[in-house]
Symmetry: C2
Subunit: 356 residues, 2 copies
């Protein structure tokens, strides 16, 4: 119950063990195509270029920036947590003129401020669900007001857990991670790229591995099946299965399950006398940040609490990061982990540990 | 029996299904440390910075270049196949002044020519085992004569299958892939970086995801365990298990098994009247290139032969690439696939298909 990886769905674990196929085997390519089609349903997009990048979510971020940032480009980035800050670092390394729009950690970004930050940015980028703070940023208003900019959104922690609507929100590029609300082990970064963005691909980006122009020739059957790199076959089996499980449950049912588990957890923490970090109207159900109680037994650090949960109950919760380090915990309820029984156990175990 | 992925060892498949652990869980970190220690034994190196990059072998290549190439650097690259050519493309994108030393596809590089190509290269790079041609290049003589240059070697197809000696050959940076002779699914790129190379790391390379300075703070326990990205936990379980299986068999026993299977295959092909591409003294046992017979039944293409092997026998062999496309096949005997029974089956099946 940390901020990810979550526990994989049982169907996913089973799929990992499927016999190996070559990355150019027709049977594997059919499974890859189906995986991409499932990703389109989950991202809610018709984007042809939608596929799993062969890297973790952070690799998805890199792919999203390296293919669109040209040196000197003005890039507006919303920063209200670790992953927004990381976007800035990534964009700066590629030569972007980064304009940051900040909100305090634990608060949402102001969409108007993001839109007003620059007259004509090449790119506007922000994080949908900030894993470092448990805050949800609004995407729709930025998609409506972006004008000529490309809108690039980190959906690592949101995809599958809360409402995501790539086409409805006019998002040009979005990436995610397999290991959060998709219930798949870490190692893949689903990405989707709209046609407007495809027309602006950097030619010969500094990264060969993440070059979307080259990658599209392998993943998009209409462009042939040119070998680029060996696809991570077993992980794609796993993603295929996880997306199948998610779609069988139904996107809205999955969102509702995440919502009810998150609510149960958050209500439980509050009724134990604890205070939540994120404001209620922008609070993520799948990632809860809670202030460490200031009445811990003398000599007991917040890390000791986490260690007791791990050692005595086999439950991981996450430490705070950045300004929340040592001050808050991050509790995940994502994918297969988002079950009532897990919440009930965590609340009881935490209560027990805190009363020692 | 294509050029990779090979079939995973049974222990590897079982390990993929181990319950998920967080990337900062002490139990996982101990397993990661053990994985790195096993990689040191397999690379035969004492390099502290030895770990699996969270990407496929091609991502290992990118990590190897992006952390050491500065714009304008003279970089000598040996090219006698697809993967040498790919190194050139990667280095050029990073601004290197690439000096190529070529040999015909199917022939080995001349180490003297590689050493003589430039007075003072920043980097000398080449592929140990060319997966596109089945040729082994000599590394030792180049390590002995490299002077101040960093020696950067692609060991994707060699590691675990033939003699590899990173320290003995004075290799500064080497990378591999999980899916060849290590018998693990594709998705990880073991890398090892010597201390001499570490002192020349590019500060703030264009890639954040592959930044070895940042990554070392997570993978090297002595530098703390700073979160960089979520490690691909299940794949690392798999690599840990695959390396365990390999070391239990013994490195030299594994090389001998690859050698005897490769010889059996190559002798079998020759006795069927076929001709091998690579010269005997530089022929890889784990990847055999064989010329397509010029007396195929009229109307039967080389792709039809591969398709019949796949459809009727469940055996994949690889097509030729580059100048060998349509002219040669590539047959892998790697990792768990390197078994006498597989060679016997392939030879019998190929004989049957060719006589139809």
């Amino acid at each position: 119950m940390g901020p990810g990886p979550s526990n994989p769905y049982p169907e996913v674990t089973a799929a990992l063990c499927r016999p190996m196929l070559g990355h150019l085997d027709p049977e594997f390519l059919a499974l890859l195509d189906e995986t991409c089609e499932r990703l389109r349903l989950v991202f809610r997009t018709g984007n042809a270029l939608t596929f799993p990048v062969s890297a973790t979510g952070s690799g998805g971020m890199e792919a999203a920036f390296v293919n669109f940032v040209r040196p000197g480009d003005p890039v507006v980035i919303g920063v209200n947590g670790l992953f927004g800050a990381r976007m800035c670092e990534t964009a700066r390394r590629l030569g972007a003129e980064v304009v940051t729009v900040e909100a305090p950690w634990g608060e949402p970004l102001d969409p108007e401020a993001v839109l007003a930050a620059h007259d004509s940015p090449a790119i506007i980028a922000l994080v949908h669900a900030e894993t470092s703070t448990g805050v949800r940023n609004e995407i729709g208003p930025i998609g409506n007001g972006k004008r000529d900019a490309l809108l690039l959104v980190d959906m690592v922690t949101s995809l599958g857990g809360i409402d995501v609507d790539v086409d409805g929100w006019n998002v040009d590029v979005a990436y995610s991670g397999s290991q959060k609300c998709l219930g798949v082990p870490p190692g893949l970064a689903p990405i989707t790229v709209g046609d407007r963005a495809r027309q602006r691909l950097v030619e010969r980006p500094s990264s060969w591995y993440f070059d979307l122009g080259l990658l599209s020739r392998y993943v998009d059957a209409r462009e042939g099946r040119a070998y680029h790199h060996t696809a991570p076959v077993s992980m794609i089996y796993a993603l295929h299965a996880g997306l199948g499980t998610l779609l069988e449950e139904g996107l809205e049912s999955s969102w509702a399950r995440h919502q009810s588990c998150g609510r149960l957890l958050q209500d439980g923490l509050v009724s134990m006398g604890m205070r939540l970090v994120a404001p209620v109207e922008h609070r993520l159900p799948q990632l809860t940040t809670v202030w460490v109680p200031d009445d811990l037994v003398p000599g007991c650090e917040e890390a000791d609490v986490r260690r007791m949960l791990l050692d005595d109950f086999g439950i991981e919760i996450g430490a705070g990061v950045g300004p929340l380090a040592g001050k808050a915990w991050r509790i995940g309820c994502m994918g297969h982990t988002a079950r009532r029984r897990n919440v009930t156990l965590l609340l009881a175990a935490l209560g027990e540990v805190l009363s020692r």
